[in-house]
């Protein structure tokens, strides 16, 4: 379920020798907005604003390439320590982006979900718009866009552990699968590919459980400069790697490992 039909592009690609499918679940850590602005002597906020174009570009590219699940790391639990003005700006920006692109996302058959979103500091108006966007698009299946907003990978795991304990499962009965069922959005498949822009090579507490077997790519471009062709390059690189190790890895494309 949740797997959109393969696009023509994907079919074409699988025609290459030793084909590997387009990754089922791609995650992007959107890094480099601040540096992008600093390079241009602009306020950091200008970098966030410029990120909007990339977000839409990448969503469109992923959808066209037949990626079924796209996750974007927008705002971590640690980001609350940034200056208040920047946070206020970010909240306002997200709200504007959500409202502006909601009809487009819906028309494109994209199901939108927000991972995290528990902090009371999130403005109620933004919370309502995000809830509306989730409601509006919940029946869509062409692609699932998960936006990690106010997200922390460890917190999700801790929450899952709590929920598991509350459900009274005996310790011996806990398996990887039963544990994963207590994570938020348990229907989300494993991440196949993580793209972290701006050359930084860290995990930063992002979807820790789900990235366990992911391939990582670190393109040097800053997020606001990152575009659809760069995204497609990353998909190609992912497939090349797989061709190098073809068939050896037991686990492919988000299939359950058991």
């Amino acid at each position: 379920m949740g797997d959109g039909p393969a696009s023509p592009l994907a079919t074409e690609r699988t025609a290459s020798p030793h084909p590997r499918a387009v990754p089922r679940h791609v995650a992007c850590v959107m890094d480099g907005n601040g540096r992008w602005a600093a390079q241009r002597s602009l306020p950091r906020t200008a970098g966030h604003r410029a990120a909007e174009t990339t977000v839409i570009d990448v969503i469109e590219a992923a959808r066209a390439a037949g990626v079924g699940w796209l996750s974007l790391f927008a705002f971590s639990t640690e980001n609350w320590s940034r200056p208040n003005t920047e946070i206020a700006f970010l909240m306002h920006l997200v709200r504007r982006v959500v409202r502006k692109h909601a009809p487009l996302l819906h028309a494109r058959g994209i199901r939108c979900r927000f991972l995290g979103m528990t902090d009371p500091r999130i403005p109620p108006a933004l919370g309502r718009d995000i809830a509306d966007l989730m409601t509006l698009t919940e029946q869509n299946r062409r692609m699932t866009l998960t936006v990690a907003f106010d997200h922390g990978g460890r917190r999700d795991i801790v929450e899952a552990a709590r929920s598991l304990i509350r459900s009274g499962v005996p310790a011996e009965a806990v398996t990887e699968e039963s544990f994963a069922a207590h994570l938020p959005f348990p229907d989300t498949p494993e991440v196949d590919l993580v793209i972290r822009t701006s050359g930084e090579q860290r995990i930063s507490n992002f979807m820790l459980w789900q990235v366990a077997y992911a391939e990582w790519i670190f393109p040097p471009a800053l997020w606001p400069d990152f575009r659809a062709p760069d995204f497609l390059d990353c998909l190609d690189a992912y497939r090349q790697r797989e061709r190098r190790f073809g068939g050896v890895l037991p686990h492919q494309n988000g299939e359950s490992r058991s």
């Binding site: 109620p124 108006a125 718009d129 809830a131 509306d132 919940e138 029946q139």
Partner: protein, 499 residues
């Protein structure tokens, strides 16, 4: 549900009629049930307009107006009231004589509880046969007028038969037919005389015309779309009021000083005409009682119709979400706090306790709760009186504890200031009596069927005990936690708080 198809031939159950009154027509046409004129008109969408008009004419009668102002919950809970009215009409005009007699007895008991004095110290009594005759008269006259304004006036013979049916309706209530003139020819002078001499510009009438539709709360099914509902209401509310005024008898409009607005006459006739066009819809598309019931359904109910509606609700939810998302942002984002699990004292007062919506807690508010529960449980005597008495005792307890200024009623402020421990012995007694009358088979347990009768939905997952029933102590606990801890989202919410 009875078939309300006019085209189907009357079958076995049709037309046992009331033999005493049947002779009026002499034609042998059934006075009740399928085949009657009332049945033929029952699903007509113009009824919506005609019923509002009839209600205004009733409210303009000083005695009825006073009873409405003092006792009625229609301003705060109009949809519940509408649903109850439909249910009652269906029983009264249905083919089954036994059901009719029971319903008449119930209405009589209810009316016996509605008496008092109005603001000018004039007594009112809902059992007054002259007053009840006027109610029936407005229903009949509004039906006739509805057909006239809709461009299909009734033929004299049809009108006579319809009149006989309404006379039989009054007779079924046990009232002398003498309070309605015996023939249709004598009816019109009677009607004109009451309009000219007895009707007044009452407060109840003004509330219906100018307040009810401007503030009409969304029916339970549309909870969660306040913006959508409010937008539609802003347009429709004043129009409904204006249309109703335009359809009232001219002499009364003049005397009551109701405004004449240019063009509304045409608008009114247009509305009746358009509503009348719905008769060209396929059979069964419009079933007034089904519509009324559906609108009344609480979205959380597990009624199969609610499930069907759930799909529609999903659509509506998405439409609502899209509309909110594409609506340009207001200059100031309004903070909307999520409702907490517990009501504040003010919220509880307004949503649950003050059933009549006059800002005070008084006996009629508690009587309305008893009435709603007795209606749902379809209580007979002596259970009904037991329930009312329990509520009356609770009222005395509340009055003694909360009425600080001694004006005989409890204001929202008095209630909030006391931050009351509502769970006195009399309230516990109410819970016990409610349990007894809900437990129809008297086995000291409430089973799923008995539960459904009261709450119109099945058990929640955590309700029943291990043996699949609801125990007395759990029932009493839940009732008290709703009434005194003001807990939300219990099954009592749809019962007492929904519009």
């Amino acid at each position: 549900m009875t078939t309300t198809d006019s085209t189907q031939s009357p079958t076995a159950g049709a037309g046992p009629g009331d033999h005493a009154t049947k002779d009026h027509t002499g034609a042998g046409e059934p006075l009740f049930g399928p085949g009657s004129q009332f049945h033929r008109l029952f699903n007509d969408p113009r009824w919506a307009l005609a019923m509002i008009r009839a209600t205004v004419l009733e409210a303009a009668h000083p005695q009825i107006g006073a009873a409405l102002i003092e006792n009625s919950t229609f301003v705060v809970h109009p949809w519940r009231r509408l649903g109850n009215t439909f249910m009652s009409l269906r029983r009264m005009f249905g083919p089954d004589d036994q059901v009719r007699q029971r319903e008449a007895a119930r209405l009589n008991r209810m009316h016996a509880r509605l008496q008092g004095t109005d603001a000018r110290d004039r007594p009112y009594d809902a059992r007054d046969p002259g007053v009840r005759a006027w109610v029936v008269a407005t229903l009949f006259e509004s039906t006739v007028t509805m057909c006239r304004l809709g461009g299909q006036p009734l033929e004299q013979k049809t009108m006579e038969q319809l009149y006989a049916e309404f006379q039989a309706f009054l007779a079924a209530m046990g009232d002398d037919t003498g309070h309605l003139p015996p023939t249709l020819d004598e009816f019109w002078p009677y009607y004109d005389r009451v309009v000219d001499e007895e009707l007044e510009n009452t407060e109840a009438m003004r509330i219906i015309l100018y307040k009810l539709f401007d503030h009409l709360p969304a029916p339970p099914l549309l909870h969660g779309f306040p913006a959508l509902w409010a937008t539609g209401r802003t347009v429709a509310g004043p129009v409904v009021g204006a249309i109703t005024v335009a359809s009232l008898p001219e002499s009364f409009r003049r005397r009551a000083g109701l405004p004449e607005i240019a063009g509304v006459e045409t608008l009114m006739q247009g509305a009746y005409l358009v509503a009348g066009l719905a008769r060209f819809l396929p059979e069964g598309w419009l079933q007034a009682d089904k519509i009324a019931e559906t609108v009344m359904l609480s979205p959380d109910s597990d009624d199969p119709r609610a499930r069907t509606m759930a799909a529609l609700r999903e659509q509506m939810k998405r439409a609502g979400a899209l509309i909110r998302l594409i609506t340009p942002l207001p200059p100031e984002p309004e903070p909307t706090a999520a409702p907490s699990a517990q009501r504040s004292a003010e919220e509880f007062f307004a949503e649950v306790l003050d059933q009549t919506g006059d800002g005070y807690l008084d006996w009629p508010d508690l009587a309305a709760m008893a009435r709603e529960m007795a209606g749902r449980l379809d209580l007979d005597e002596p259970e009904e009186t037991r329930l009312y008495n329990a509520y009356a005792d609770w009222w005395r307890e509340l009055q003694a504890a909360l009425d600080a200024d001694g004006d005989g009623r409890v204001s929202a402020r008095e209630y909030a200031a006391a931050v009351p421990s509502l769970a006195g012995p009399a309230l516990i007694r109410v819970a016990e009596v409610l349990f007894d009358v809900t437990d129809k088979d008297g086995n000291d347990r409430i089973d799923a069927e008995e539960y459904r009768t009261l709450f119109r939905t099945g058990f929640r997952r955590d309700t029943p005990d291990a043996d699949g029933t609801y125990s007395r102590s759990a029932f009493i606990n839940d009732f008290l936690s709703f009434m005194s801890a003001r807990r939300r989202t219990t099954p009592y919410d749809p019962l007492l708080a929904d519009a």
